[in-house]
């Protein structure tokens, strides 16, 4: 397995979060290259590198940046998504606490490219400890005169998973409830108080300095044709050494788990795995053996790569209990705007609870799938469809366990 450290290269250094250490180890070098390019040329480099958004969706960053107006009488903004609330995901926190200057450098380059003068970092309220490290780094950057052309402001959330969804995030930043907005019919930027705004994940922005400094080809030297580069993959659950370890796309899933994670905890066998946060469909051990860590491979089995935060479950895990746990999360976190989601998340939670309590019947499993179907494709955001996918994936792969629980 090839070691590759694009985003995590300074993580292990002592006091890596300080300007002094970061700078001595290459931070802000890419900024020097910036002058040689026009903003549009920077966007071309990012497009050429095929950088994909690392917040869960994998959308090409270049196409999103291109939507931002190069000429406009309104100010443009950058909103960096550090909401990181998808269960199983804890990578952005590594960046802001171990190498905040990498993120700041990425923000400066991105703002240059999209002609924004102000960037906001929306951070989940629970990350206050890490927010303080990030704020200290921003203060240092101000003192060092690095933020002359662009301001950076941290905006703290206050506990709501849905604020990670990009339009809900902007609503929240506008001082409202975090309710996702209806999607426009055509491709356009996001809007913050009516101004064009780009929303990208912390890790996406933190990958930008490497690409600008080393060129698109250097990034594409890692990963696969369609998923180039690397990701801060992570592991939690039943694994010996949980944590965040950067790897290139296309790495074998089991090799990753065994190499970095030291295998399944207590020498047990793998039973199931959720590849990238609970919103991705569950996989069984057989599938995990064959899969590689990239968007295409996971889509091929009806799941998705998501944030790359894998949740690992050993042979003793009860899959009905696991699904119940996930559905409680969704029930708690639905923003309540759409009836199929607000009501549906409650119903499916109750139905699985009934099966778990041995009060269920075969009809309840069918009912569960039926409600899931009603939740799919009829809502403002993809929260409800994700719940449906998760339910179907559990029943499809572990139906016998659900029937055995009746």
């Amino acid at each position: 397995m090839r070691e590759c450290k694009i985003v995590s290269r300074r993580f292990e250094l002592e006091k890596s979060y300080t300007l002094e250490v970061a700078k001595a180890n290459g931070a802000y070098e890419a900024l020097k290259k910036l002058k040689a390019y026009s903003p549009a040329e920077i966007i071309d480099i990012i497009t050429e590198a095929k950088l994909r958004g690392k917040g869960g969706g994998g959308a090409p960053a270049g196409s999103k940046w291109t939507l931002m107006p190069q000429k406009s009488d309104k100010p443009s903004f950058l909103a960096v998504n550090c909401d990181e609330s998808e269960p199983g995901t804890f990578k952005d926190r590594q960046i802001i606490s171990k190498d905040p200057h990498l993120l700041i450098e990425g923000i400066l380059i991105t703002c240059y490219a999209i002609r924004a003068k102000h960037a906001y970092i929306y951070i989940r309220g629970e990350y206050y400890q890490y927010q303080q490290i990030l704020q200290a780094a921003i203060d240092e950057a101000y003192s060092a005169g690095l933020l002359l052309e662009c301001d950076i402001t941290i905006h703290r959330g206050a506990g709501a998973y849905i604020c990670g969804e990009k339009s809900a995030l902007l609503e929240s930043m506008e001082g409202k409830r975090g309710h996702p907005r209806l999607k426009p019919k055509q491709k356009e930027p996001e809007w913050y108080f009516g101004n064009p705004t780009l929303v990208n994940n912390v890790e996406t922005i933190s990958t930008v300095p490497f690409i600008v400094q080393n060129g698109a080809d250097a990034y594409k030297a890692y990963g696969t044709e369609q998923s180039p580069g690397t990701l801060l993959f992570a592991m939690s659950g039943h694994v010996e050494k949980p944590g965040v370890y950067e790897a290139e796309f296309g790495t074998s899933m089991m090799e990753y788990i065994n190499h970095y994670g030291g295998g399944i905890k207590n020498g047990k066998k793998l039973k199931a795995l959720i590849p990238g946060g609970v919103s991705c469909g569950v996989l069984n051990a057989e599938e995990a053996e064959k899969l590689t860590l990239d968007y295409e491979a996971l889509r091929g089995v009806g799941s998705s790569l998501g944030t790359g935060g894998m949740i690992i479950m050993d042979e003793d895990t009860c899959m009905v209990t696991a699904l119940k746990n996930i559905l409680e999360f969704y029930h708690e976190e639905s923003c309540g705007q759409c009836t199929p989601c607000r009501e549906g998340t409650g119903w499916v939670d109750k139905l699985v609870g009934k099966i778990l309590d041995k009060r269920g019947s075969k009809a309840d499993i069918d009912k569960l799938l039926e409600v899931a179907d009603t939740m799919n494709g009829k809502t403002i955001c993809v929260f409800a469809p994700a719940v449906a996918t998760v339910i179907v994936s559990f029943i499809k792969r572990f139906r016998d366990e659900f029937e055995g629980a009746l």
């Binding site: 309220g125 402001t153 905006h155 479950m313 895990t317």
Partner: protein, 145 residues
């Protein structure tokens, strides 16, 4: 009105106004300031925030109730927020919760705290405590007393 922002917070608010395109954006920052200043967000504080953010009090209230981290009533005991989401559950959050029962704290169930790699975890005020064991929980609570 019985709630007033401290001098320090008023200065913060003025400084923040320059950093946003609209005062409405100050709703969450102001709610946080009130939460820290009083330990909860009173209806008087909501009124006060409304004047700084150019937002009707009812709207500020609607926002305050949407986010789970704000308290709308004074808190009597220590709130121990135990993560009960999947990775923590797989790694023994039930045991931690059982251990906490009967102690003089208020147990609050919360969803994933973004510390799944060091599960099980809990949060008290702004601090996350990771890799918990019952013994570790005892030590933490003892130090807080």
């Amino acid at each position: 009105m019985s709630f007033q922002f401290s001098e320090e917070n008023l200065q913060k608010i003025e400084a923040l106004k320059k950093r946003y395109p609209s005062p409405k954006a100050l709703t969450l920052p102001c709610l946080w300031m009130a939460e820290y200043q009083e330990g909860f967000i009173s209806l008087d504080a909501i009124e006060e925030i409304s004047t700084h953010t150019d937002t009707p009090p009812m709207e500020v209230y609607r926002v305050a109730t949407f986010y789970t981290m704000f308290h709308l009533e004074p808190q009597e005991k220590i709130n121990v927020q135990v993560c009960k989401t999947l990775s923590c559950k797989l790694c023994g959050s039930d045991e931690i919760e059982k251990h906490l029962q009967g102690k003089d704290v208020n147990i609050v169930h919360v969803e994933c705290l973004g510390s799944c790699g060091t599960a099980p975890v809990m949060q008290i005020e702004d601090v996350t405590y990771e890799d918990l064991t019952p013994e570790k929980v005892d030590m933490i609570l003892k130090e807080l007393k």
